[in-house]
Subunit: 349 residues, 2 copies
DNA sequence: CCAGGCATCCAAAGCGGTTTGGGTCATTGA
DNA sequence: TCAATGACCCAAACCGCTTTGGATGCCTGG
């Protein structure tokens, strides 16, 4: 490890006090001296010890992320990679560290108490909120700044969050399909204990209701968002006596599974059957190049990570209680996976 | 935040010394006293302050992961989510924190120096090593325990690593295809500046050479491992005058792209064209259920994360210099994506 | 000429733990 | 009976940094 502040001070013939002040930009130090100190620090490769600094200041200069792993399926949501990447950029810029705990749903509360109690972090990001998520009141009680990525319906008191407008996005997508003449729209959603999935569902239902249509339970699926689940859901729905002519899907991975099922059934995506998916704009799962493969509701999860981190840092900085909230609209981008309902064309012919 | 050790001691009428010793299992404390202390700690919800503890002991109780983001494409390798999940389990079990820095290739060295200099972590995991990766000598110079996930050809002095046998795995896969009669095997690889990709390539080439076959450059592709790149590579190769009858692919995502291209070309995977892919056994990208979709060389990245973390913790614990290394063999699992070469069947008919 | 103000710097007291180097008292062996 | 030995506990130093509360010397204005 490197040199210590005391050593640096000694080598300069100065007191630790002055050196500390010089490095941290306090005014009560001569500019010449400051310059000498900075130079020496650079030359000797001095870096203040994080732990000592934190101990002295009371700030950990670190933000915690608790990544939940669903107990049943042991699935890690793949969007975390990109979210973390985005958040990491913000932290790096602000000189904060990011500490991550991967933890089974059941032990989450314990982990939060621990992180806060041991003073490891100054703030926390809450991932994958469910409805009436107990973590939100817990964290308020613990008295640490936190920001929820998403929202949690049913939590009465206000809290800070960053979310996308899932309901409206999915309502628009559904409307888009309805406008194309589709009436039987298969809905392949994520687990609906997740708040985002519940909101998407109500967007879907609202849009149907807006045209006086009733949802068919056989056309609604809720499961972990994997390629195989998308495949299976589509396959099952396509086998119905009155199969869907379009699919509304909650993630690219699901959508790829749906596409798989369509091909297998000899159906051409975008002509025989339409597909709209939500697209998190993941770096390793791009939706085509210039012209998107899938028509999609798109919102960059990486950008969300950046913004969420920035918001949390603000909360941490100014110890204000006022909750920060931000709702991002999603883009509806048109790709090659949607087209008029063939059934309808036949009708009109 | 919680109660402090001094306060806890006061509430018990004991000195901080004794309380500290009681909690940390030192022998010079009466068992009754220890029990009283433990009880009080539990009841008052005492948690030792990480920073203070680290400062006193000199150990950060934290491991760092530096996640590289390729400058050009800004792509975060999706396997990190699962690797991190695996490593996280080990850290949690051992009472270590995990701090993550996401950083552009170019700034990596700086970040390593920083993490070490500021004493934020006791050890580091090096991800995605390239050939002759400069980070390895750098970290040795910095004198911090580290473990490389993968290896780096061309680094002379020994270092600790955990890797899978990429060369042999891909040689076996190639042999398997050759045994099925395939002679033109398209190779869709990751970026070959990455060490793992280079090794896979040599596995592929060795197997071909073993049968006296010369590799066709037109059948070899090296690119970032995304679905679109897989699709494009396969599409291009299928358009050749003498297209491949089989594909050897470096990741599930690439393979899904290849599958896409096959369908588009009206080819049935497993009958008309065979595909073998490497399968990292990602939680959100399972290769089918009971019977795998793709024939694959499989090795769980999550398990690798667990093992890597365990090895690093061992290095950190016993300050021995002896490098730890471990080479995992990959399984070759048979799925539905491979079959005899149709060309050959015609020949033999 | 002198008090007050200003620019600079420093000693020392924390931050919340661990650890060294004793103390005190009861027990034990000769 | 008495020194030696444990068992048990504590005071204080220390980890590396920040920050409070002065010091010191020079400059100004009345």
């Amino acid at each position: 490890m490197g040199i210590t502040l005391k050593e640096l001070a000694q080598s300069l013939g100065l007191s630790p006090t002055t050196v500390s002040r010089a490095l941290n930009g306090y005014p009560e130090v001569n500019e010449d001296t400051r310059w000498r100190v900075m130079e020496a620090a650079r030359k000797l490769n001095y870096r203040p010890n994080t732990r000592a600094k934190s101990l002295a200041t009371g700030r950990a200069q670190a933000i915690g992320h608790v990544i939940p792993v669903s107990d049943q399926h042991e699935i890690v949501n793949p969007v975390f990679a990109d979210f973390i990447a985005g958040a990491g950029e913000s932290y790096t810029r602000a000189g904060y560290d990011m500490v991550i705990s991967v933890v089974a749903d059941a032990e989450e509360a314990q982990v939060y108490r621990d992180l806060v109690g041991r003073g490891t972090v100054d703030g926390l990001i809450v991932h994958a909120p469910r409805q009436q998520d107990p973590r939100i009141p817990l964290l308020r009680d613990l008295g640490i700044p936190f920001l929820v990525h998403g929202r949690s319906s049913g939590v009465e008191r206000p809290y800070s969050w960053l979310d996308i407008n899932n309901r409206r996005g999915f309502a628009r997508a559904t409307d888009f399909l309805l406008d194309l003449g589709h009436r039987r729209i298969g809905f392949v959603n994520g687990l609906e204990v997740m708040d985002f999935a519940a909101r998407r569902r109500s967007g879907y239902l609202d849009a149907l209701a807006g045209r006086g249509l009733r949802a068919d339970p056989a056309l609604m699926q809720s499961a972990e968002m994997t390629e195989t689940n998308g495949y299976r859901a589509a396959r099952r729905m396509l086998a119905l006596p009155d199969p869907p002519t379009a699919f509304l899907v909650s993630s690219m991975l699901l959508a790829i599974g749906v596409r798989h099922a369509l091909w297998e059934a000899g159906l051409h995506m975008g002509r025989d059957v339409s597909v709209i998916t939500h697209d998190d704009d993941l770096s390793y799962l791009k939706n085509g190049d210039e012209v998107p493969i899938f028509t999609a509701t798109r919102s960059s999860i990486r950008e969300a990570g950046r913004l969420a981190a920035d918001m949390l840092l603000e909360l941490v900085g100014q110890r204000t209680e006022a909750p920060l909230t931000r709702l991002l609209e999603v883009d509806l981008i048109i790709g090659q996976s949607t087209g008029p309902c063939p059934q309808r064309q036949r009708d009109s012919a």
